[in-house]
């Protein structure tokens, strides 16, 4: 269950990142999540790439090869319309989960 929860939130994090930053490569996504979460969330590269490829097959994101600012070749990802719809649903779902868990914790 925990592993699956993590996977679910990884999708959410990646989609949110692409939503905020537009086009980004895998390494950039890792850096963004790390930075935006005040170093609280560490994304494992070992889970990131399978997730990216799975999301691409699901049609939520697309990819293309391009040159980075430093002149290297990198694979850039971008969110699709289906992806932004998925993001909204995942966000709502997550909000509900958080509210539910919080209510649970506050229950005396």
């Amino acid at each position: 269950m925990a592993r699956n929860d993590l996977q679910g939130s990884l999708d959410l994090l990646v989609l949110k990142t692409l939503d905020q930053r537009g086009r980004l490569h895998g390494y950039g996504i890792v850096l963004h999540i790390q930075g935006a979460s005040d170093e609280l969330l560490q994304v494992e590269e070992g889970s990131l790439y399978p997730a990216l490829h799975r999301m691409e097959q699901s049609g939520w994101i697309t990819s293309e090869w391009a040159l980075t600012e430093t002149g290297r070749r990198g694979k850039y990802y971008r969110m699709t319309a289906a992806g932004s719809k998925q993001l909204r649903e995942a966000e709502a779902s997550f909000e509900q989960l958080v509210r539910g868990v919080r209510a649970m914790l506050r229950y005396a």
Binding site: N4, H25, Y49, H53, E56, Q57, S58, R72, K75
Partner: protein, 882 residues
């Protein structure tokens, strides 16, 4: 989605691997560059960057797995998972597969039969150019629009018109085929066709040749062509039969050819062909009123049918004006040959096809209903899978996989079923034209496969979408409170059920109407008794019985012998018995009446030969005068008996007894004296009666075709052998045919009506069972959903009767709505089968009431069991189920 891309990925595994490698490599490079910027040594930076990936091989593999194989694997997994889910509820699956097999099998069969019979082109050369041409009486109020053609009219059409490439004619005939070497004599159905018939159709013989023009003349040598079935059956398929002689009606006929195996025109009963004129009497070619032939014409390329027919119409009108004293039609009419062959079965086939289509719809709705019920039972499972990250499409796909599997299994069984049922149908449906054209081929399989997919989607998509519609949290929330069932699901099931019941009602009403009219047809009073009457047919060959005296002696001797058999109550002899068909008709004049205006149609009556016992044996009542006596024999046989209808139509208020009738076509100028009037009979059940003239059998002329009528004390068929023995004792070479009871005679004319009524009734019955099962399922489901609620109500002191009523009304609501809708729809739709009904109105109140009562009763029964069970629940047990 993406399946094609994934399959593509499978084939490009190498390239993809390289791409993933490159992507991971670029990540590591970027990370190590940053690490160096942060002050690490290049080696350290590189090592740290790699380390974050864990095992690089594993990462690469899991990433690749996300791209490739997944698609195929997922398809297979869906199927596998579906099969496992179905196996878990074997009862449900077996039932659903059975329902689908039955429905798909029946639909495929009827589709195939209808396609082969109604649509498939005739097996002739350029069949769309072939039409049948008929005579047509303008403004004729009675009878068919399409009248058979006389020989002289045919010859005139062929000689005097140019719009058709050629025209050919044929007419029915019968021969006594006797063996040269003491084989059993038999009566064979034959056709006499003009020499050019086979070239008009474009048919090549399998052996030998077709007729030559020189063989189609009066007085030409006698030749015959065998059909494949007679060639195989009687001549052992020996090609040496070509050029040999066969003996028919006491004459020798030379076999010149054998027709191909597939040739069964005009129907499969025909055993052999002879030239058109070989059976004709002198003067035959000049007859304009001997309307017994069928004319096949091939349209000339580039000529429109209307243009070609306008010429024929003009010629026919001229013939009409030249022969005003004869009943010659003034017009001609045509229809395509295919329509002509299948017009009798077109409507029944289309009705059966619609009925079976309705049954398929009901079957799909039923399976959909069952799937919705299962979907409900698996709500929690779905919710958990959803929570674990399965996408909505994946869930829908999963559900669809199950219904497609169900329909696939059902469809495969159905195709097997269809192959067997098609064979049965060909045998069981007597007189189905073009039965030999029915075959199962790839297009039928394609149809069955397509139907299977459509049925699978239809029965799976609706419940699948519904099951996957709700968000995870909504379902989990619902699952937490089972006191009140999910209303949207119940709503859908109720709607499905309502439609199912409405369609069932339409089917039941149609079946009821067809059945009622068939029963009426079957029990029609034809004006003669049908109990304990045996009839059989024989035909005295002209060559042996060459004088009237010989014919009369044979008849008298036979009647004498049969009359003394034990168990025989009465005997009679006639040409045709009531209900056995139209037989002969002729025009007549009444000698004592003033001559008719030549412009007027001449009076026309059925003509029947009858002996003195005929009316008594068949219990046709004598209204006035007397029946025949032994004195009405040979030269003294110048008396006739007429039917009541003839008396009423032509002797209004006048006493017909003693008046004289003249029938020009009988070739003599005898004035026949009317000596008696008998009750009316029907020549065919379901058709109006027609004026009839009876001539004494003992005149020994006219016809040599006789039907022996034997009324017995008990089971008439038990007498058939003793009677046949008496015939054989008198003339061992004389074949006997059509040994039938009167009831069988009538049954034959109602064969198609009986067949379609029975089949539609079977479909309707099955649909009713399906609807009842659906109703039972829905009420059981609603009761299960409300277990807690019922428990609470019971605990609070609700009366069980009230609960029973509550549960019943839940189930009966869709039944009543469906019933009402179905009755309304039936009222409109039954107009379509009006022409197939006999003495039954499309809005027959008895049928509608009966259907409504039956359906309501079945609905009450189907609802009562689960409702009763629910109301008997122990409140504590009910509450504990939570």
């Amino acid at each position: 989605m993406g399946i094609l891309r994934r399959l593509g990925n499978l084939g490009r595994q190498k390239k993809l691997d390289a791409e993933i490698e490159a992507e991971l490599q670029s990540h590591i490079e970027m990370r190590s560059a940053d690490n160096i910027a942060a002050g690490m040594s290049p080696e350290e930076a590189w090592r740290k960057a790699r380390l974050r990936f864990g095992s690089p091989v594993l990462v690469k593999e899991t990433t690749a797995a996300a791209d490739a194989a997944l698609g195929l694997e997922r398809l297979w997994r869906d199927a596998h998972y579906g099969a496992r889910a179905l196996a878990r509820s074997a009862g449900f699956s077996a039932m659903a597969v059975g329902v689908m097999a039955l429905c798909l099998g029946a639909t495929t069969t009827l589709f195939n039969v209808a396609r082969c019979v109604l649509v498939e082109p005739l097996p002739f050369r350029d069949p769309s150019q072939l039409v049948m041409v008929y005579e047509h009486f303008r403004g004729a109020s009675s009878g068919s629009e399409y009248n058979q053609v006389s020989p002289a009219d045919y010859y005139d059409w062929r000689a005097r018109t140019h719009g058709f490439e050629d025209m050919a004619a044929w007419r029915d005939w019968q021969f006594n085929l006797s063996g040269g070497h003491g084989e059993m004599p038999e009566v064979v159905h034959a056709e006499a066709g003009t020499w050019n018939l086979f070239s008009v159709l474009g048919v090549q013989p399998a052996l030998g040749r077709t007729f030559a023009a020189s063989e189609d003349h009066l007085g030409a040598s006698r030749v015959a062509m065998l059909t494949w079935s007679l060639y195989q059956r009687r001549f052992g398929g020996d090609p040496a039969v070509i050029g040999k002689e066969i003996h028919m009606d006491g004459n020798a006929w030379t076999v010149v050819g054998v027709l191909p195996r597939w040739f069964s025109y005009p129907d499969a009963r025909v055993q052999l062909w002879v030239p058109y004129t070989s059976i004709a009497s002198p003067g035959f070619m000049q007859h304009h009123e001997d309307d017994q032939s069928f004319v096949v014409a091939r349209l000339r390329p580039g000529v429109s049918l209307a243009a070609a027919m306008s010429e024929v119409k003009a010629v026919q009108y001229r013939i009409h004006t030249e022969h005003l004293d004869q009943p010659v039609a003034g017009d001609a009419i045509s229809r395509p040959m295919l329509d002509d062959m299948v017009q009798e079965v077109k409507k029944p086939l289309l009705i059966l096809l619609s009925a079976v289509g309705c049954m398929l719809l009901i079957g799909c709705l039923n399976v959909a209903n069952l799937l919705v019920a299962r979907g409900t039972a698996r709500q929690r499972e779905t919710a958990i899978r959803d929570a674990l990250g399965a996408g909505r499409l994946a869930l829908i796909r999963q559900q669809l996989a199950e219904s497609v599997l169900l329909c696939g299994a059902g469809g495969s069984l159905g195709v097997l079923l269809s192959v067997a049922v098609t064979q049965w149908l060909i045998h069981a449906w007597r007189n189905l034209p073009r039965a030999e054209a029915i075959h199962t081929d790839a297009s039928v399989l394609a149809f069955a496969f397509g139907l299977m997919i459509v049925a699978g989607l239809l029965s799976g998509l609706l419940p699948a979408i519904l099951a996957a519609r709700k968000s995870t949290f909504a379902v989990l929330r619902d699952a937490a409170s089972t006191v009140r069932g999910s209303t949207s699901r119940t709503g859908l099931r109720t709607t499905l059920l309502t439609v199912e019941i409405a369609v069932t009602v339409v089917l039941l009403v149609a079946a009821g109407l067809l059945l009622k009219s068939f029963l009426l047809l079957r029990t029609t009073d034809v004006g003669a008794t049908t109990d304990n009457v045996l009839t059989m047919h024989y035909d005295l060959p002209k060559t042996v019985y060459d004088t009237p005296a010989k014919v009369v002696n044979f008849s008298q001797a036979l009647l004498e012998r049969v009359r003394h058999l034990p168990g025989v109550v009465a005997t009679g002899l006639g040409s045709v018995v009531p209900g056995a068909g139209y037989g002969d008709d002729d025009v007549f004049t009444i000698v004592e009446h003033p001559p008719l205006n030549p412009r007027q149609d001449m009076p026309d009556a059925l003509t029947r030969v009858a002996d003195l016992g005929y009316f008594h044996a068949l219990e046709i009542p004598l209204v006035h005068g007397r029946a025949f006596t032994p004195r009405d024999r040979l030269k003294h046989a110048n008396t006739v008996v007429i039917s009541k209808q003839l008396a009423e139509e032509y002797f209004r208020g006048e006493n017909p007894l003693g008046v004289h009738i003249k029938v020009p076509d009988w070739g003599d100028s005898t004035n026949y004296e009317v000596v008696g009037v008998v009750g009316d009979t029907l020549y065919q059940a379901g058709r109006p009666s027609k004026a009839t003239i009876y001539v004494p059998v003992l005149a020994g002329q006219l016809d040599r075709d006789y039907t022996l009528v034997v009324r017995t004390a008990s089971n008439p068929l038990a007498m058939s052998l003793p009677v046949q023995k008496e015939i054989a004792a008198l003339d061992p070479a004389l074949p006997v045919s059509n040994v039938l009871t009167m009831q069988q005679v009538l049954g034959q004319s109602a064969a198609t009506a009986s067949f379609s009524a029975t089949l539609v009734l079977a479909f309707a019955g099955l649909s009713l069972v399906l609807a009842a099962v659906g109703l039972f399922g829905v009420v059981s489901y609603m009761a299960a959903q409300r277990t807690t609620e019922i428990g609470v109500r019971l605990a609070l002191g609700a009366r069980r009767e009230r609960l029973l009523r509550l549960m019943m009304s839940d189930g009966l609501k869709p039944a009543v709505v469906g019933l009402t809708l179905g009755l309304v729809a039936s009222a409109g739709l039954t107009q379509l089968i009006r022409s197939m009904l006999y003495a039954t109105r499309p809005l027959d109140p008895a049928v509608f009431v009966l259907v409504a009562v039956t359906l309501f009763a079945v609905a009450v029964l189907a609802c009562a069991a689960p409702a009763w069970r629910a109301s008997r629940m122990d409140p504590m047990a009910a509450l504990r189920t939570e």
